[in-house]
Symmetry: C2
Subunit: 341 residues, 2 copies
C-alpha cells in the first residue's frame, strides 16, 4: 500500500506538501491539493487513510431525485437512513450533486477530501460519471436500484419480481385476462427486471403475453397519453404502472377517453407515495417501504465499511388494495376481441 512518501516522490514535491494537501491546509493552492488527492486515490492510499481515521461520517449523494418534502420519493428513504445512522452514532451529510460536480472531481477524490467512510447514492443513472467510476472504487458505496460488480459496492432496492407478481396474481384472481404494463424508461435494470417479472407472472397464471400490451414510458404522468389508447385498442382491462405518478397519468387519460376506473379498466401503481391515497379513485399500488430501504442501506453500508461485501439487499413489497381496481367486468374473451373493432 502506498505511503505519503510514495505520493511525494511520484509528484516530485515535499512530504509536508502532500500532508497539507491531504489535511486540507489553507497554505497550498487548490490545484496542488487536487493533484495530491487524485494521486492518493490512484495509488490506493485513499481507502487506507479513511479506514485509519476510524470516523463515523458518511454521506448521501443525490442526483435527479426529489426528496425535500414527504410527498416525494426520496424523502422517507433519507429519513430511514438517518434513523439507523443516529442509532449507531454516525453522522450523515446529504449532498445534492450535479453533472458539473461529477465532471470537476472524481468520486474517490471527493470522498477522501471530505473524509467520508462511505456513501449512499440516490437517483444516479448508469451513464453518470460517478457511477462509471464505481467499477474501480475502493470506497464502500451503496446504490439504490443499480448493480455494479465491485466488492465495495452494494445494491439495495425492492424485490421487483415479487411486486409485479403480487399485482398480476391479484388481477388474474379477479378475472382479468388482458393486463397491460406501462413500464419505466428503457436501459434501466429495474425496468428490465419488471418486464421479465411481468412476462413470467403472466405465464404462471396461464395468461398470454401480448407485446401490444407492454409499453415503456418515463417516470412522469405525461407518458400515459402515448400508450393508454393503444392498450385499450388491444382489449386491456387492467394496466399495471411502474410508478404512482405514471398511474395518475393513466387515470387522467382514461377519464379523457370516457373510461371509468375501475369499472372499465383497473389501474395499479408502484411505490405507494402519499399521492396514491389522494387520487380519485384512490390508487391500488405495490408499496415500496422507503423507510426500510433507507434503514437497510445504512446497515449495508456499515457492513461494507467493515469488510463484509454484500452484493444485493432486496426488500419485500406489499400490494395495497384501494379503489382503482375491481373484478373484470368482461365475462368472456369475445368482449376483449370486440374492443379491437
Amino acid at each position: 500500500m502506498a505511503t505519503i512518501k510514495d505520493i511525494a516522490t511520484k509528484l516530485g514535491i515535499a512530504v509536508s506538501t502532500v500532508s497539507k494537501g491531504l489535511n486540507g491546509a489553507s497554505d497550498i493552492s487548490e490545484d496542488m491539493r487536487q493533484r495530491v488527492l487524485d494521486t492518493a486515490v490512484e495509488m490506493g492510499y485513499a481507502s487506507k487513510r479513511i479506514q485509519k481515521l476510524g470516523n463515523r461520517k458518511v454521506c448521501i449523494l443525490i442526483e435527479n431525485m426529489e426528496y425535500e418534502n414527504i410527498d416525494q420519493f426520496g424523502y422517507e428513504i433519507i429519513v430511514g437512513f438517518k434513523l439507523s445512522a443516529a442509532r449507531r452514532h454516525c453522522d450523515v451529510s446529504v449532498i445534492p450533486t450535479n453533472l458539473n460536480m461529477q465532471t470537476q472531481e472524481k468520486f474517490d477524490s471527493f470522498m477522501l477530501k471530505c473524509g467520508y467512510s462511505g456513501a449512499f447514492l440516490l437517483g444516479f443513472a448508469l451513464h453518470d460519471d460517478y457511477i462509471k467510476q464505481l467499477d474501480k472504487t475502493t470506497v464502500p458505496t451503496v446504490l439504490l436500484d443499480n448493480y455494479i460488480p465491485n466488492k465495495h459496492v452494494g445494491y439495495v432496492g425492492t424485490d421487483g419480481y415479487n411486486g409485479i407478481d403480487l399485482a398480476v396474481k391479484y388481477l388474474a384472481d379477479n378475472g382479468h385476462k388482458n393486463i397491460a404494463l406501462l413500464n419505466g424508461s428503457k436501459n434501466s435494470m429495474v425496468t428490465d427486471e419488471r418486464y421479465l417479472a411481468f412476462t413470467q407472472s403472466l405465464n404462471r397464471y396461464s395468461l398470454k403475453v401480448n407485446p401490444d400490451l407492454i409499453g415503456n414510458g418515463y417516470y412522469v404522468p405525461e407518458c400515459a397519453k402515448y400508450h393508454v389508447s393503444t392498450f385499450l385498442e388491444h382489449g386491456a382491462t387492467a394496466i399495471v404502472c411502474a410508478s404512482d405518478l405514471i398511474a395518475s397519468g393513466v387515470i387522467a387519460e382514461l377519464n379523457r377517453l370516457n373510461k371509468r376506473v375501475p369499472q372499465d379498466v383497473s389501474v395499479i401503481g408502484f411505490d405507494d407515495l402519499p399521492i396514491a391515497q389522494h387520487l380519485t379513485p384512490t390508487l391500488t399500488t405495490i408499496r415500496q417501504d422507503r423507510v426500510a430501504i433507507g434503514k437497510s442501506a445504512f446497515m449495508m453500508l456499515e457492513e461494507l465499511i467493515s469488510g463484509v461485501s454484500i452484493s444485493k439487499l432486496l426488500l419485500k413489497p406489499e400490494l395495497i388494495i384501494r379503489n382503482s381496481t375491481d373484478r373484470c367486468s368482461q365475462t368472456n374473451d369475445f368482449l376483449a376481441f370486440d374492443a379491437l373493432k
Copy 2:
C-alpha cells in the same frame, strides 16, 4: 389479536390452564400444553407474545448440513452468526433437527414454547415440513439459499450469477471454449440459478451452450464418475463444479482416466472449503464468505424482528485462483473435435 381468554374459551379450559401451558408450568400434561401452544399459534397469539417478551434469544436450526468442525460447510456460518449476535447481546442456541422433530411439533409452536424471537434455518430442503409451514409463519425466520414469499421470511446466500460469471470469464479469458458445468442436485433454487448464470455467461463471452457439457450431480465427490467421461467425449477442457467436494471427485476421476489437471483439463470448485487448499493440485474455486453469510443472516434476522421485511440478501463471491486451472492447451477447435473420435 387473540388474548389468553380467547384461547381458554376456544379450548373450553380455564385461563389459568392456558397460562400454565404458555409458561411451561409442570403441573399440566404435555398433551394439554401442546394443545395450548398450537391454539395460541393458530389464533395469532404467538408472535404478539414473543414480541412482548422483548427477549434477545434466537436459534439456529440445522437439518442435513455438517457444521461441527472447521472443514465443514456450516461451521463458519455459525461462527459468523454468533459473532454478530454476541456484539448485539443476543443469545443463540444451535439445535440440530430431524424429520421426527419436524413431524412431532409445528415450527411456530416450537418457537413459541422455547421463547425464541427468531430462527436461522440451515440445510433444510423445500420438502421439509418446517419449510412448508413457512408460507404462513409469523415468526421472523432467515433461510440459507431458499426463498419463501412471506414477509416474515428472508433469504440469505451468495450471488450465484456473479460467482459463475467470474469462473466462466476467467476460463474464457484463458482460451477455454468447451467449458462444462457439473451442477448440484435438481429441484433446488441455487442449482437453477447456477444453470441460468452458466448459459448466460457462455453467451456473454460468445461461447456455445452445449447440453452435453452440463450435468446434475449431488454434493458428494462420487457423483463425478457419472459425468466426467461424457464431458471429455464432448471435448471439455474445463469443468466448473457446484462445490469443492464435487471438484475433488472430478479431479480423482480425471486422474483415473489419465488426464492431467490442469494441463489437460482445468477444474474450478465452489465454496472454498479448507479442503480446496489441500487437494493436489490446489483448487481454484469460487469463494463463499461463510463468516459473512452468518453475520449477514443475524443482521437480517434482527431487521425482520424489528419489522423491516428484507426479502433477499446476497453476498459477493470471489474467484480464488490456485493450481487446478491453466490456459487452454488446445490451440484450435479441431482438437476439440478430435477428442470425439
